[in-house]
Symmetry: C2
Subunit: 340 residues, 2 copies
DNA sequence: AAACTTTCAGCAACCGTTTGCCAAAAATTG
DNA sequence: CAATTTTTGGCAAACGGTTGCTGAAAGTTT
């Protein structure tokens, strides 16, 4: 028995400390802790007792070195500032925690090259990554996915596992709703040109609108922020449309504010439909009619997908993209078309 | 020169691959990459070129093993669901990124023992931790801080570095504001009994109210969620008070909704002051008068504090708690007291 | 009781990097 | 040109675990 005090201020106990203290070899300690059947019950108990007494915690770095597994997953978001990600992060965190994984949250804010570089440097610290609204090219994504297991959210590239929130499906419902309220000219308030979702939403809107005999119009691009809602609102005021479908709730809520300042009544003068149903959409003024996306669920799904991918090995066939349905939540920002 | 194809699908290149390919020893490669002066310029360039060609990324696990540094920081939040943390996470992420650290985001949701256990298991994966609204006892916190560098947010325990948002300071402003509007009986809508901030807010409110000749009243505890705002609103309706200061914006916004449903006008019938100024406080209905907290800044500060603590070494004297001022942001949820 | 199995613990190599120490080579000095 | 100093690169030992292999001890089968 060593006579050294078990000071809590010294550096953490290693497996060797436990070995020395217990009189067994390090390898035996290792097995006692992680491979119970391989060791005598009594031996095991002695070792466990000592480990507990020493407050031993395995060093995950060292473990990762041999196992090649870090038990952590990187979650990359393009802009933490966007409330859309709140739900997503919540979802990934939940699921990762349940599977006993750690979440490394990374904001890629910058350009796409920095995004690629960031991921590369993460390649060794995480077992896999979840990418949201990636600015990477299809090409880059594919080459990246050869180097580390990936799941994309809201981005479809053949061969890359993905979770896709099927907003276009909801777009149809929104258009039905708007058309039945008598709107005949509907503006799509566009998000970033680079956004894959944005393009998809517009295309579906255009197509369905024509089917319904409604005239679709598209604005220039707006950054997804509360602030850019003001400009979007002005544009809307100057247009002929009586209703708009907005790229996301953030912009939509921003628009609502400006409308109020300008004395434009929603929904009497203009109807507004958002996308995503983020935190705030239910209590803004007026409460926003929006396409409710199962954001949290998307996060959870992405994690499950990634984790089962990790188990299956890199050579398993990539799973088909997972489509998550969206539905229209009617609140107070839509109403009968004004005659104009 | 090796003839093996540089396949991107094989596992990542190690320092030994670079060594073999370049004809130098692994130690030389290591130095070329991280200790430039220690190696011949030409050697260095050759090595760098090869490293680049091989797409070499140092294995951070292995590096951590020798250096003892992981270059990542754990950020523990008690409930990711709370929008208050959004700003915080944003702040920590910003600052960590700038310092080239990774953020491990952890939700401790559960009980306090699980919180302690979680931290212990993280002890080896992170160089330090930032705790928010920790449910740990003073005792536990101190013993923990002996094992790993810690910064607490909104929690003061002697000897533990902390960033504290000085809401009590703002409480005075809120009370002044309310008193000058003629309110003579003010209810404090209480948050969780366990919350250190909650207790502080109430105590200050009680004291200042008495100084101003206003009668302070305290409700039972409410969970910090939109949903519990409904019950809080009911309680408020049944009270004699004409104004309330609410533990946080989340509850306050929930109350606003219920007031509207019940036909209670804000601020004509009841004035409401929130705390924190979270996302949503500016556009709820009516926009919320609240104590604006520099949440993001708190996150950034906490990181700076932790990082400089890491540099200074564990034996450096703990820095004094950092107090961040708060101010009243008057919006539309407060007005003259109704005679009742 | 001999031969064979099974159980259990230890040895040693390995994972990918860093780093102290050493020695060969080059540069400088006398 | 010898002696001394400086550069520069390699060897080998960590760091803290895991794991294949080995062999002693114990248990089982004839």
């Amino acid at each position: 028995m060593s006579t050294e005090p078990v000071s809590s201020s010294t550096r953490p106990a290693t497996i060797h400390d436990v070995a020395r203290e217990s009189g067994f070899a390090a390898s035996t300690v290792s097995r006692a802790l992680s491979n119970p059947g391989r060791v005598n019950v009594q031996t095991r108990e002695k070792i466990l007792a000592i480990a507990r007494a020493l407050n031993y915690t395995p060093n995950s770095q060292a473990r990762a070195l041999t196992s090649g597994q870090t038990r952590s997953i990187a979650v990359l978001v393009s802009d933490i500032t966007n409330p859309f990600y709140f739900g997503l992060i919540r979802g990934t965190q939940q699921q990762l925690k349940a599977a006993n994984y750690l979440q490394m949250l990374v904001d890629t804010a910058e350009s796409s090259d920095s995004e690629a570089a960031t991921i590369d440097s993460l390649r060794r610290s995480a077992d896999g990554a979840i990418l949201t609204a990636s600015r990477l090219s299809d090409q880059q994504l594919v080459s990246l996915s050869e180097r580390m297991p990936l799941v994309a959210i809201n981005r479809h590239v053949p061969g890359i596992p993905a979770v896709i929130i099927d907003t276009p499906f909801g777009i149809d419902q929104a258009l039905d709703h708007l058309a039945s309220l008598g709107h005949r000219r509907i503006t799509y308030v566009s998000g970033p040109d680079m956004s894959w979702s944005n393009e998809r939403r517009w295309q579906r809107l255009e197509k369905t609108a024509q089917k319904l005999g409604v005239q679709p119009v598209r604005t220039r691009e707006y950054a997804p922020s509360l602030a850019s809602g003001a400009a979007a609102a002005e544009a809307m005021i100057n247009s002929e449309s009586t209703a708009c479908v907005v790229f996301n709730d953030l912009i939509a809520i921003g628009m609502l504010e400006r409308f109020r300042e300008r004395g434009v009544r929603v929904p009497e003068d203009i109807s507004v439909v958002g996308c995503d149903d983020i935190f705030g959409a239910s209590f803004c003024n007026p409460p926003l009619t929006t396409l409710t996306a199962p954001i949290e669920r998307a996060g959870r799904m992405a994690v499950s997908m990634l984790l089962s991918r990790l188990e299956a090995g890199p050579d398993s066939p990539p799973p088909p993209p997972m489509l998550l349905p969206t539905h229209l939540t009617v609140r107070k920002s839509t109403g009968p078309a004004r005659q104009r």
